[in-house]
């Protein structure tokens, strides 16, 4: 399933296993900063491969604050050793935003700021993946007034290519697809201008939403709990950010049970979009960037506009006035003239 997520053929799975069997399990260093660990949690709710399979058979998770057995100095030592031993090859995963204000003191691990840690770890990484909205562009901690100066990893690591997988949480299969592609082929997927893999972030929710026919037919839920809401109508009027949100949620749901916000009746919050998530209020309506025709049809015999009564009135008045004046003046001419000479020969 993860292979399919990146559009790899089934044979890729075998290649992956072979790579694993030759003991080439790639090293992964997972950094955690201003995060809620939700992205790790979402990874726990996968089964193709499940997290256990992943970290035991596919990758070597050399550092993860929530999942590793060691703690404290031991854990930090493991991280530094992984950096040394697998320089240029390990995958650096970043979860959570990085505070930049006041030298970044608002997040310190083992006495060192997140800024220092991420720069040190990313410097010699083979690939850098920012998982979740917080690591991608700042996320929740960066919401107004952003007291800690929280920023996403690409902002801090300006000279490196960072694959971002925004989402709150990120879709775990997107993450797995990127990792497996890198592990198997040593390449990263095509990215958009925000660093998001195109295979997951090219299309908007609006394009693939199962409630789209309701939108096209003009059937909306107006308030939570009303008739339209109960019938599963479109949530656009409740502030759904789907039309401007690039994400695969409409097709690749969550929790392996097909759950996703719109499916349970709540409008999309636009969590993958830097200009929407935690910036625009959840129930504020957004513009449709690429409108398409509705599911109504104009008639083959369309109705047209109206004639302006003011214009008709003016034209009538002016025309009538001119004619009337003309005839009156003609009568004046007649009256002015002396009686015509009856014997006058009109010749040329």
């Amino acid at each position: 399933m993860a292979a399919a997520a990146v559009g790899l053929p089934a044979s890729a799975a075998r290649k992956m296993v072979e790579a694993v069997d030759h003991g080439l399990k790639p090293s992964v260093i997972w950094l955690s900063f201003q995060e809620c660990t939700g992205c790790t949690e979402s990874l726990l709710r996968t089964s193709h491969p499940g997290l256990a399979d992943l970290i035991l058979d596919v990758i070597s998770l050399d550092y993860h604050e929530a999942l590793c057995a060691a703690a404290g100095e031991q854990a930090e030592a493991a991280r530094r050793r992984a950096i040394e031993e697998h320089a240029g090859q390990y995958v650096c995963v970043i979860e959570g935003a990085i505070p930049t204000k006041d030298g970044g003191i608002y997040c310190r691990i083992g006495g060192r700021t997140a800024l220092e840690i991420v720069k040190e770890t990313a410097r010699r990484a083979g690939a850098i993946i920012a998982i979740g909205s917080c690591a991608s562009f700042g996320g929740v901690p960066s919401a107004d007034p952003n007291p800690t100066g929280a920023k996403g990893a690409p902002h801090v690591l300006k000279d490196r290519r960072v694959v971002t997988i925004p989402g709150c949480p990120a879709n775990p299969y997107t993450f797995l697809g990127v990792v497996l592609q890198f592990v198997t082929f040593g390449t990263l997927p095509a990215l958009d201008e925000w660093g998001r893999p195109l295979f997951a972030y090219r299309r908007t929710i609006h394009e693939d939403c199962p409630r789209r026919p309701h939108f096209d037919a003009g059937r909306f839920a107006e308030t939570f709990g009303d008739e339209g809401h109960r019938r599963g109508y479109c949530l656009y009027k409740l502030g759904c950010k789907g039309p401007q949100t690039h994400a695969p949620c409409a097709l690749k749901r969550f929790g392996e049970v097909g759950a996703w916000p719109i499916g349970v009746g709540h409008p999309c919050a636009g969590c993958t979009e830097p200009h929407l998530a935690f910036r625009v209020p959840i129930h504020t309506t957004v513009k449709i960037e690429h409108p398409t025709p509705p599911s109504t049809f104009p008639s083959t015999a369309p109705e047209r506009g109206k004639v302006s009564p003011v214009a008709t009135g003016i034209a009538g008045l002016v025309g009538g006035a001119l004619l009337g004046a003309g005839f009156r003046w003609a009568r004046k001419l007649d009256e002015e003239e002396s009686p015509p000479e009856a014997s006058e020969e009109v010749s040329s």
């Binding site: 047209r304 214009a311 002015e336």
Partner: protein, 393 residues
């Protein structure tokens, strides 16, 4: 030089002329708006009726009403009725102004006016297009008209205080003397061509123009009616300006002119009816639906002045001359409006009536013409006849 023809600086204008100036001002504002905002914002034109008031009235009817010069030129120079000669210059003024302002209307109406000069690119001409011939003919005719009128300007400039103008007058005179014959001939050929072609323009609208009007005879009918309108305008304008400038109405000339008009009107009516009968549209003419009524009113408008002017007594009274002239102008205008707008039905629910800015601009163009006529007649030797001062009324 005709000693009786001179400028009229002493004429005072009635107060109503202030209204004309206001109208022109309003028109200029609307014209600016049209260029800034586009046609959709200022007109009620649409894809079903892409040609509206400005084409039907200012261009088609306007140029027909400006055919006074043409009509008089035929009389004086082809049929050798020299007695009408005093009517030539004033008719030319109306014509020159009318055609020039029709040109203004065209610039206003076309959407991509900056490409207009490309009409002169010979290698791109499409000879199938009637509009090409109309455009080129009208452009040439405007030039011809002002050249025909230039002897009046040169006459005046001969005594001008400005040395440049005197020089122009000196140099221009002999050239004009020689060329004028061929210019006049051109001034008769060109309107024959384009006034008839203004009718041919609608030949392409085979399924949009009602069969009571759509006929291969459209060019002929347009030509004949334009001649009638030309004569009518000469009478109309002559009577009006005589009154305005306190000169006696040239009744004799106008009276004999009107006998000519009767002939033209009858020729038109015969051709019109013969065409309707031959094409099997007589039933449609008497169905008494909207189109039938339009047709019958048109016939009545052409017939009425003809009947009015049959009697010699009527022809010698200025009032009836003036009324008949008005009816004739109305008849020609009615016919043209029918062909271009009212009997033109593109189907699919399209409707059109000019918007207020369209009407204002059209009226301001007419106002411009009137003001221009007065300005020229005051400054240059245009009008002849006897002044009120020299004749006991």
């Amino acid at each position: 030089m005709n000693p009786h023809v001179h400028a009229l600086p002493e004429a005072t204008l009635p107060r109503s002329f202030r209204l004309l100036r206001i109208l022109v001002g309003a028109g200029v504002v609307m014209m600016l708006w049209r260029f800034l905002a586009g046609l959709g914002a200022t007109t009620a034109l649409n894809d079903g009726y892409p040609w509206g008031l400005w084409i039907a009235f200012d261009v088609v009817t306007g140029t027909a009403l400006a055919c006074g010069g043409y009509a008089i030129a035929i009389l004086v120079y082809v049929l050798n009725k020299g007695a009408y000669h005093p009517l030539v210059r004033p008719a030319l003024v109306t014509s020159a102004l009318g055609y020039t302002l029709a040109g203004l209307a065209i610039v206003l109406d076309v959407g991509r006016y900056w490409n207009l000069y490309k009409v002169l690119y010979v290698w791109r001409w499409n000879p199938n297009s009637v509009l090409l011939e109309v455009a080129l003919c009208i452009m040439a005719y405007v030039v011809v008209l002002w050249i025909e009128l230039s002897p009046a300007f040169l006459e005046r400039w001969r005594q001008s205080a400005s040395r440049a103008l005197r020089w122009i007058s000196q140099k221009g005179d002999p050239i004009l003397q020689r060329a004028l014959i061929w210019i006049i001939a051109l001034g008769i050929l060109l309107p024959t061509m384009h006034q008839s072609s203004l009718g041919s323009l609608l030949l392409i609208a085979t399924h949009k123009l009602h069969p009571l009007w759509h006929t291969p005879l459209l060019p002929l009918l347009f030509l004949i009616s334009c001649i009638a309108m030309g004569y009518a305008v000469v009478v109309f304008e002559s009577a009006l300006s005589s009154h305005l400038f306190h000169r006696r109405v040239e009744k004799r000339m106008l009276a004999s002119l009107s006998s000519v008009m009767v002939g033209v009107l009858l020729v038109y009516l015969i051709a019109r009816f013969a065409d309707v009968v031959v094409r099997g549209q007589l039933a449609a003419a008497f169905r008494f639906d909207g189109y039938s009524l339009l047709f019958l009113v048109e016939v009545a408008l052409f017939l009425a002045p003809a009947l009015m002017l049959l009697s010699r007594r009527a022809r010698s009274r200025s009032g009836s001359l003036f009324r008949a002239a008005m009816l004739m102008m109305l008849a020609g205008a009615w016919y043209r409006f029918d062909v271009y707008l009212i009997a033109f039905n593109p189907g699919r629910g399209w409707i059109y009536f000019p918007s207020v800015p369209e009407l204002v601009i059209s009226m301001s163009i007419v106002a411009l013409e009137i003001l221009g006529y007065v300005a020229i007649v005051r400054r240059f030797p245009i009008l002849g006849g006897l002044t009120a001062a020299t004749v006991e009324r």
